[in-house]
């Protein structure tokens, strides 16, 4: 074995040992676990070189080595061996997800919950951006004397409901009228076109009726906005408590970041359909810079896709977690396609 190849082997072994134990790994302990026979002195020399290349570091002069972020990067990109899921694990994932596949939101929540449980990370699932969604139909259901619910159905299979309240008693004739007027105006309209300007012109088109229907319009507007905005399901936040690298101040900031789907989405954009890994300070968000994020695009139709992501400690079991994420992402993509195609 040529020396450089051995160095990579050593890097790999260091990373894996550190992921497993969390302790800095020394030359002696390492060369016992190595499957080729060299003395600890040789390992030491190699480790010193790896350290000078910036792949390993020491917590103090006479401690074992731990991987640097760059070290993890090389490991993830070049060294680690993928561990495909077993057939059993695959079918378990499918079985758990299938019952949730009646609606996209439901499915994504299920996927996030499942992933957080399997991996011990915090899971995020962004819903497909509504950009491509077109309003298929709007329905109204009376829920009380003064209250009703608007149901907005889009071409992407998403169903949004919104309760609202009127100043007058609602009658079946009125809901029918709402339905007729609103569908005339909104059917076939891309949800992203439902802008304040569009609402303005809709109100104008209604003439004197618009006063009566203010709340109706507002409710439709809200539902359309819900459908156009990418929302994100977050599950497994309790796992944050098991990540000691999260300074208690950062914990709060991260939790708050996760409830702002807007920022979250921006952060996760650029993820590829193969799981892409961001390690530590590669993540641009300061509160997250002590953690790793693994993100994977799920794809159903070209326009309809989103991101599944896992947030965990830098020191995590990348091979296993990446496999779980990629497989789940595949399944979600497929289930969504079916949902849209046969919706």
């Amino acid at each position: 074995m040529e020396p450089t190849q051995r160095k990579l082997k050593i890097l790999e072994a260091v990373v894996e040992a550190f992921i497993k134990t969390g302790e800095p790994v020394g030359s002696k302990a390492l060369c016992e676990n190595l499957d080729f026979n060299v003395s600890s002195a040789t390992v030491r020399n190699d480790m010193a070189e790896l350290a000078s290349l910036g792949l390993l570091e020491q917590t103090h002069t006479s401690s074992g080595r731990i991987p640097t972020e760059l070290g993890y990067r090389i490991y993830v990109d070049k060294l680690m061996k993928r561990i495909p899921l077993t057939k059993y694990e695959q079918s378990r994932i499918y079985d758990i997800l299938y019952p949730a596949s009646d609606a996209p939101e439901h499915l994504l929540e299920g996927a996030a919950a499942l992933l957080s449980k399997i991996t011990g990370c915090v899971a995020v699932a962004t819903s497909p951006p509504g950009e491509a969604a077109i309003i298929k139909k709007i329905r109204f259901i009376q829920t009380g004397r003064y209250t009703a619910m608007v149901v907005l159905i889009t071409s992407t299979g998403s169903v949004k409901t919104k309760l609202f309240r009127c100043d007058f008693v609602i009658t079946p004739e009125l809901t029918e009228m709402f339905e007729k007027t609103m569908n005339e105006r909104f059917s076939g309209v891309p949800v992203t076109d439902v802008t304040p300007a569009f609402m303005q012109s809709s109100a104008a088109a209604l003439g004197e009726m618009s006063i009566l229907m203010t709340n109706v319009l507002l409710a439709v507007n809200d539902a359309a906005r819900d459908a156009s905005v990418a929302s994100a399901a977050v599950r497994g936040q309790s796992n944050f408590f098991t990540m000691p690298e999260l300074a208690s101040g950062d914990g709060k900031r991260v939790m708050e970041l996760l409830s702002h789907s807007r920022e979250l989405e921006r952060m996760l954009m650029g993820a590829d359909s193969k799981a892409s890994v961001l390690i530590g300070s590669e993540i641009k968000h300061p509160a997250l810079s002590s953690l790793s994020v693994i993100a994977s695009h799920y794809k159903s139709t070209p326009e309809c896709s989103g991101v599944l992501a896992l947030i965990g400690p830098v020191r995590m079991d990348y091979p296993k977690i990446i496999s779980a994420l990629e497989y789940t992402s595949d399944i979600v993509g497929n289930m969504l396609s079916e949902l849209i195609e046969y919706g």
Copy 2:
């Protein structure tokens, strides 16, 4: 001032100083802030007696005193002065809650979010138990070729939706038929009566149609169960990261407890309409025994009520937090009454 009264004054001062600073308070520092003039030696004697009564304790022999749980208890029950909210604060709360008052769930989520923000605690709002709810109407809306949504409206103003999927193409005639059959069977039925046995007999009553309508029945069943089960809205979990008394192991357990509305509810039962305070180990749940819970019943109609609760460190600003909770609880009760009455 007679001595016992002074001792209570001293207890009050210790609790308030400790709540403010988090540091054990010594006799000297204390008697400077006291509004009657006694020497530190006198204060010391009194504090020693309070300690022997189990109301104060020391972290070590020569430190200042901190309140025991019993000390907090006396403070909360007897000593603290209520601080009513200002008119401005009251109207702010009202203004924020009003837009959410179109549906009970929505309102409770809003109340929890608001309370967690004001108080820095974690807020829980359990929805009224569905026990009293009666199914008013069931509607069906087709959302796709094979998918539809059932909408279940109850007498308590609660609206539950559930998407489902059929093996056959759904037509307007079919949804109409669903609606007719289901309303015949379910209208006027208390949601708690929708038991497996009831579903069984419903299926039997449908005869051969029941095979076709399996998923319809299941969806209605799910919606009714949703309406009968008390769910809980939890907001402000990120505040857990600011509570140092929460050992990191307990953090995870508490977060998980909060996602099990069943257990949560059991814990909060017995709360009165006046805010009731549970301090530290008075809470029976082990993971919570280092925290305090303040719970207040909101009441609209006699049958329709639930609990608003705040979870925070034992060392919290009780007067302020109790006021905010009680006021919010009142408002929520009123808004719910209106919702039901004029629903």
